[in-house]
Assembly symmetry: C3
């Protein structure tokens, strides 16, 4: 039996019940939310085992621009070289191991360790390591920063710590044209808020995937788009999603119905009456509005704690307007976010009970089920592989 | 060998030394206070394995009144129905598992999950689950809240998560008449203070069970009742206790000797000159004063941390007096409580030493020994059962 | 195989690579810094297995003066008796286990437990235990405080919890004459600052052992003594160290070059132009300046957290001067300390990466290597012993 199986305390039978069609399916097993071993497995095999979203191209556009993320005990930074091409590296100096960059983002004049001043090129190659001349067999070519696979697809910056995931375009799949239509790659960021949520990352993803809770939890949102409106979307790629229709009188999601900004250039009439919610597996939530895009990235910190980075992106031309003010959109979603974190947190607590049994889906939780199936599939692959190895 | 034995790192020989008569006995083994596995076992087998006190009837008197407690990863709430009859349930919605109530107490207009609005009767039956019509085999009768056994004895609200403990009256036993004499069931709460104490719950129970420490730790208390005064009480039921005699000039435990309130109606002359301290196993401390009752409930959070809820109850008629002021009693005991928590905390720290060996009892620690024997008995039952299973 | 080996997840081959001469050596294995089991082993076998520094003689000079330290779950206090002779004891009362003293230092009128008032002589013997007359077989002679081996060498107070370490003079070895020349035993403390550092204790010891990082991290220090100045020191005893030369115009390490105090009496011309840095294994850093001595003691709290106590000592005559002001020295080193903790903390984080491999030493890290070899030797002894036991 492989290590994977031993550390993944889930039964194939339970997972098969989740993979049934919605009408017959049962939610993910309790341990998926409450057992630290499942989280450890997910960090290693889901978050380090394929593409994850780490941010937006706007943060790594110019020479030395970087963003840094932490996943498990790893830290990775993505930095733009002289030509604005992003490179990703493990954030660990090859001398004594100090972290090269400390902040979640910024601009570096050069890639230099703050401890003993070892310096590296934007391609990771070791450029300077003082007082190593007399060290035997010290070949600077062997002491470059360790590279991490990186890709930018329609403005979404992704890394693959495994180095072996399928092509990034296949990961994004049929979602890409929508991102292109909303010109995501060219948008600029106006705001960034980081939340610490006492809930499993999947509880947050599930919460994002349905609006059945909106009338009770988000009356202000339900006022702008009815919770039963819109359609489910499907297509190739590791994502699920759906649209909601803006009510008459609402121009976007924002306080006061948001009539203050022009729509993103080139959107269809239907786009301008909709908000489209995509979940790019596993950790990236992309919410397309007529006049802006909101991006959540989820960072598991424990089986019951997740850091959520939320960012808002607008057209450069819109942001340059002298009266540009994103506060209606940011304030609206900040409130909705906090309402969501609360219900995620009380769900996390309630699921810990020994009396808890995974429930049934309602008809309005189609995307929740689709997300859960993606998760269950990953677990199944590991368990099936383990059985094979063990047999 | 059963799981119980494997997770209870205690030796029968050590426990037998605790169960000797006081003059020959040795205190509980170190691991009982410093090993997280013992605490885990206690939460599961002592706190979830029989009756525990959760509060007072005054909190669940009227329709929708509830109180909520947490023990281990469980949360249970007790709520009064239309007739004022209390029902207890696991605090976990049957849909996605959210906690139904969040606060330690309050009043509910109805029992409704705040996430997706599933609603339940005060008897726990599922009343409404929107968008489940098309779900196959979804029988609402199977999705009621999970019931927990509940009882109210002389005003003390108790739950039994095992569902198999002996009758609640047998648990309270011969202590009941005293509680009745102090009319505990009809008293009203005036104040509630919650403490977080960095000590094992048993160290707090032991501290409550002797006044040998009073001259040094509580000079203000020793001034109102001499630490060697009073008598030990005994009788049927899972409790230990004793009285102390008020000194001349002291009317109750309170700042300035507490001459401000009439005694509880119907108390004897002796009652009016005494304070009686009961410990109802495992977690309920009931202190009967001439004019009020103080209730502590102990909530283990870790082997070295306990949450203590302390409440003060008075006669309704006393509380209705325009000049009613409980601050002398509350302030007095709040100070004594904090002095006790301090010595419990330094004992918890000191017991962690590898050089620590359980000490001998002194002649003034009779009730400490009696409590320790109750604890040792529970351990012994588990170990004896394990030996039987294993042999 | 012994418990030691099982709990020390290190390979002999890796440790042998550290013990090579500097030019061919590789730094300590990753697990030495990031595995909690190594820290647990170190606490038990390094910190409790031989001499550690606990403070300075100035804190235990007069009757009842005490200092208290915590290591792992142990607490030890050193207290001076009527003749000013220091005794050390486990800080645990023999009755119910309460800690006798709570503060890191102070003066005791007598040794008395604050819980039930058991009292002990300064030699640890039980003097009073109320209400034990009727306890069978209770012999007060068997209930004295548990002694710990203590020694004072040239003003450094040390304890040996194992009781079996070689003579304290052998531990200090050839470093003693230097401490004597700086009259360390007779100096008085002017200031004490405690830091909590999120790094392994060895990362802090390594940081102390080289100044290669000074130009980048401590420009203010590099301005007073060039990072390549001075010499490495060697000799018998469990220490490593080296000197640095003060630049022209600098009288000591201090803000504004420190010209405010006379040198310590009897120092050589060379002493007055130098700062000498000693690391007494495992946890004591002694920095000899022309006019004062700085003492760091390191207290591991977790694999990635260390408490550091930093103290500054001056000549009594100097301190009695009406215009005595240590703030230039204290302020200077407080800033340097904080700069050091920062780089230690980012190193601790970076070393946690799975992509981290121990690096090579540079030619300027001679003392780092010497310290690492002392550590590797301890590991090797345990692993060799385990192999022997196991074979």
């Amino acid at each position: 039996m492989s290590v994977d199986h031993e550390t993944l305390p889930l039964s194939i039978r339970d997972l098969q019940r989740t993979r049934e069609p919605l009408e017959r399916a049962t939610a993910l097993p309790q341990a998926a939310f409450t057992d630290p071993r499942v989280l450890d497995w997910e960090v290693e095999h889901v978050f380090m085992g394929g593409w994850i979203g780490v941010g937006h191209a706007d943060q790594v556009r110019e020479r030395g621009d970087y963003l840094m993320v932490e996943i498990g005990r790893e830290s990775v930074f993505v930095v733009a070289d002289d030509d604005g091409v992003p490179h990703a590296f493990l954030n660990t100096c090859r001398h004594r191991g100090a972290r090269i960059v400390q902040e979640p983002e910024g601009r570096l004049p050069r890639v230099q360790c703050p401890y003993h001043a070892w310096s590296y090129g934007f391609d990771g190659s070791l450029r300077s390591a003082p007082h190593t001349d007399e060290i035997e067999g010290f070949d600077p070519q062997c002491y470059g920063l360790r590279s991490v696979r990186v890709a930018v697809v329609e403005g979404i910056v992704m890394i693959d710590l495994s180095g072996t995931a399928p092509a990034p375009d296949d990961h994004v799949g049929d979602m890409a044209p929508a991102l292109a239509r909303y010109r995501l790659d060219g948008l600029r960021r106006a705001q960034r808020i980081v939340y610490s949520v006492d809930a499993n990352w999947k509880a947050i993803a599930e919460n994002y995937s349905e609006c059945l809770h909106c009338p009770g939890v988000h009356p202000e949102l339900n006022q702008l788009s009815h919770y039963l409106s819109g359609e489910t979307l499907s297509g190739a790629g590791a994502w699920c999603g759906g649209s909601m229709t803006l009510r008459d009188g609402a121009a976007t999601m924002g306080r006061d119905g948001g009539h203050t900004r022009p729509p993103i250039d080139g959107l269809t009439e239907e786009d301008q009456r909709s908000v489209v919610y995509y979940l790019l597996f596993p950790n990236t939530l992309i919410s397309l509005h007529p006049d802006y895009v909101m991006l959540h990235t989820l960072w598991p910190r424990a089986f019951n704690r997740t850091e959520v980075v939320c960012e808002w992106f607008f057209e450069p031309a819109t942001m340059q307007a002298p009266d540009f003010d994103p506060s209606d959109a940011v304030g609206f979603w900040d409130q909705v976010n906090r309402e969501d974190w609360h219900v995620c947190e009380i769900t996390q607590k309630g699921m810990a009970s020994r009396g808890f049994e995974p429930g049934r889906y309602t008809s309005e939780e189609f995307d929740v089920h689709e997300f859960d199936v993606m998760v269950a599939d990953r677990y199944m692959e590991a368990l099936a592989g383990a059985v094979e190895v063990g047999s």
